[in-house]
């Protein structure tokens, strides 16, 4: 019996029990309030218990997406003559819940496991361990039901028949999702309008630019009016005006009470859209919170970046000793000229300290701004590295 994280006051117990009859990957999960621990011993006596995880559950009554310690290990074979097995852990113990009507963001560097997580939630991959529920439906057991209620779009130009037109492609998927022909006929023009492709519906997809393909993917995902939407990097390759429109579209979807899980590499986008964010690295969730409190979590809320003369940097660093403990000072040697980066809750004090040096012999340029999500992200990911 193994127990996992216990980091919160709202602790619930997850009982994970192997079902004898099912395939060995399939586990079932029970969530029980911690006050009911006698159940645990009952199950343990019966030998049903595989391991117990202590997990946090907020006040969510009826979450739209619920991931319980998802794990995914890929086994690949390499080599032509000498076949070697290699396993990659893409996702390790990811648990989170997304409320109905919430927009949840997954951030993280390339290869962190975002797409893999999304694929497990969209029933396209079986988790190696752990389970997930969409609208209370189990993604492993109730696959068919889950698929009716979710829509998903992955980035990239794949996933459409290039030789067909946009409308033909949409029609094709409408049938796969068993839509009534009448409904389809009405919805397709609406959707094309929504994603800004009106007028291009009768052109073959092979004549589209990559941004247009991306928009078509979104239209396809929305075809059957899914309640839960998974968008994997939806704004890749879309121009600035277009992505602003797209963000507006996403916001509108939220106002229609849809639940959205979004992955993106654009921090500004995540900051603007997401109610809550999880930053993933090496297959694990590093932090999970609202953008606002994430920003608070990392020291200070202002960022001061000063370009300095390399020879004088030690003097400046010395001067900044006077700041309180919550401020963070870092010298970036790789920049040219060298860059002093200060995160602090008291920017006035920094300015005061630095004011004697505000001349080109010491400081070449300086910028004071509020901390953005990007700063937080970079701090967290770099912190992970060290």
């Amino acid at each position: 019996m193994k127990s996992l994280h216990t980091d919160s006051s709202h602790v619930f117990l997850f009982f994970i029990k192997r079902k004898e009859s099912a395939v060995k990957l399939r586990l079932s999960v029970l969530c029980v309030p911690i006050s009911n621990t006698q159940i645990l011993s009952t199950y343990d006596r019966l030998g049903h218990l595989d391991f117990v995880a202590l997990g946090r559950r907020g006040e969510m009554e009826n979450p739209a997406i619920q991931a319980c310690s998802l794990n995914k290990v890929f086994k690949t074979k390499i080599g032509l003559w000498k076949i070697k097995s290699k396993s990659t852990t893409a996702v390790e113990d990811i648990s989170f819940e997304v409320e109905r009507g919430e927009l949840f963001g997954l951030l993280g560097p390339n290869g962190a496991g975002k797409t893999t997580t999304v694929k497990m939630l969209t029933t396209l991959l079986l988790p190696t361990r752990g389970t997930a529920k969409i609208l209370g439906l189990d993604v492993i057991e109730q696959t068919a039901e889950v698929r009716k209620h979710i829509g998903f779009a992955f980035s990239g130009s794949r996933g459409l028949y290039n030789r067909l037109t946009a409308i033909q492609n949409l029609n094709y998927f409408a049938e796969l999702y068993a839509l009534e022909p009448k409904v389809t006929k009405k919805r397709i023009p609406e959707l094309l309008e929504l994603v800004g492709l009106n007028g291009r519906g009768d052109d073959r997809v092979e004549t589209y630019s990559s941004g247009m393909v991306q928009r078509l993917h979104l239209a396809r995902a929305l075809l059957h009016e899914p309640e839960v939407l998974f968008l994997d990097e939806p704004t890749v390759g879309i121009d600035p005006v277009g992505s602003r429109e797209l963000r507006q579209t996403i916001k509108n979807l939220i106002s229609l009470k849809k639940t959205i899980l979004l992955t993106t590499h654009y921090m500004a986008e995540a900051e603007e859209l997401c109610n809550r964010i999880a930053i993933v690295n090496h297959g694990k969730i590093v932090v999970m919170d609202t953008p606002a409190s994430l920003k608070k979590r990392v020291s200070g809320d202002s960022v001061i970046e000063a370009e300095v003369q390399s020879a004088k940097a030690p003097i400046l660093l010395d001067t900044l000793r006077g700041l309180d403990g919550r401020s963070m000072v870092k010298l970036d040697h790789s920049a040219e000229p060298e860059k002093l980066c200060i995160r602090t809750a008291e920017p006035e004090k920094v300015l005061e300290l630095l004011s004697p040096f505000l001349n080109p012999d010491y400081i070449l340029g300086m910028e004071v701004r509020h901390q953005t999500l990007e700063d937080v992200y970079i701090t967290i990911i770099q912190g992970e590295k060290e």
């Binding site: 032509l80 003559w81 076949i83 290039n162 092979e206």
Partner: protein, 266 residues
């Protein structure tokens, strides 16, 4: 001068290896062997039974013809596949957009296919000798090698001709394939060219391979150099005409394809 030569040779070999490896890396050894000998072998068996049914009494005739077509097939398919698959994977424009000269790139790709077809055919003769009790005793091995190799090279002219088509259309490979099938009728693989109607006989003699296959058959019957010299000469001549035409066509089409922007359409 020497530096340039070395560089070019390296480019040839690197391209050849990459292309070859790229094509076969997904398959395992089993896939490799079946892909080499599987299809031609079963096709040959099919033709043999067809022949048996209509009373064509000489299965060895069909066996030899089909084996001789293997190096030719590789010579043709090598270049066309090299180009066609690049298109399929969307990497064609990277290859053509790189500063590397085109001729080494694609000829280089063909080299391994040609060598490979050549080795496969010799292997095939060995296997056939065992299965069909073919008598290779009186055969001049060097002449047979020469004929097989010549077939692979003359066929590569056709490969260039059709491979170039792959630059402008995604159907290049199919067009070539259809053409290769026509060769099963025309160049005397399953039955002698004499059995063709008159007009087709003329066509057959304008194609590479026809004379080469005839020469190889003579060699297998024990003929010496003097008996096949004229056939070999004719084959080499027709072959080089096709290679020249194919290469010129390739250069021309490459220019065209830049204009029409169809390099990566799948």
């Amino acid at each position: 001068m020497i530096r340039r030569l070395v560089r070019t040779v390296r480019l040839y070999l690197a391209q050849a290896w990459l292309s070859y490896h790229g094509r076969f890396s997904i398959t395992n050894p089993f896939g490799y062997i079946t892909s080499k000998l599987g299809f031609p072998f079963f096709l040959m068996i099919f033709f043999i039974f067809m022949g048996k049914f209509v009373g064509f009494s000489d299965p060895l005739y069909i066996v030899i013809g089909n084996l001789l077509l293997i190096p030719a097939n590789n010579g043709m398919a090598g270049i066309s596949l090299a180009i066609g698959e690049e298109r399929g994977w969307g990497t064609l424009s990277y290859v053509l957009g790189s500063p590397a000269p085109r001729a080494p790139v694609f000829i280089g790709r063909a080299i391994f296919y040609i060598l490979d077809g050549f080795v496969t055919a010799l292997l095939g003769f060995g296997i056939a000798a065992i299965i069909f009790r073919m008598n290779l005793g009186q055969v001049d091995f060097y002449l047979l090698t020469l004929c097989t190799f010549l077939l692979a090279i003359t066929a590569s002219g056709i490969g260039f001709l059709f491979g170039s088509i792959s630059l402008i259309t995604r159907d290049g490979w199919t067009i070539l394939n259809t053409f290769i099938q026509a060769l099963y009728i025309l160049v005397g693989v399953n039955f002698p060219v004499d059995a063709l109607p008159g007009a087709l006989q003329k066509v057959a003699y304008c194609l590479p391979l026809t004379r080469g296959v005839m020469a190889a058959r003579l060699v297998l019957d024990g003929a010496g150099w003097s008996a096949i010299a004229s056939l070999i000469g004719g084959e080499a001549l027709v072959g080089s005409l096709y290679i020249a035409a194919g290469y010129a066509f390739f250069l021309w089409i490459e220019k065209r394809s830049m204009q029409s922007g169809t390099l990566d359409a799948v």
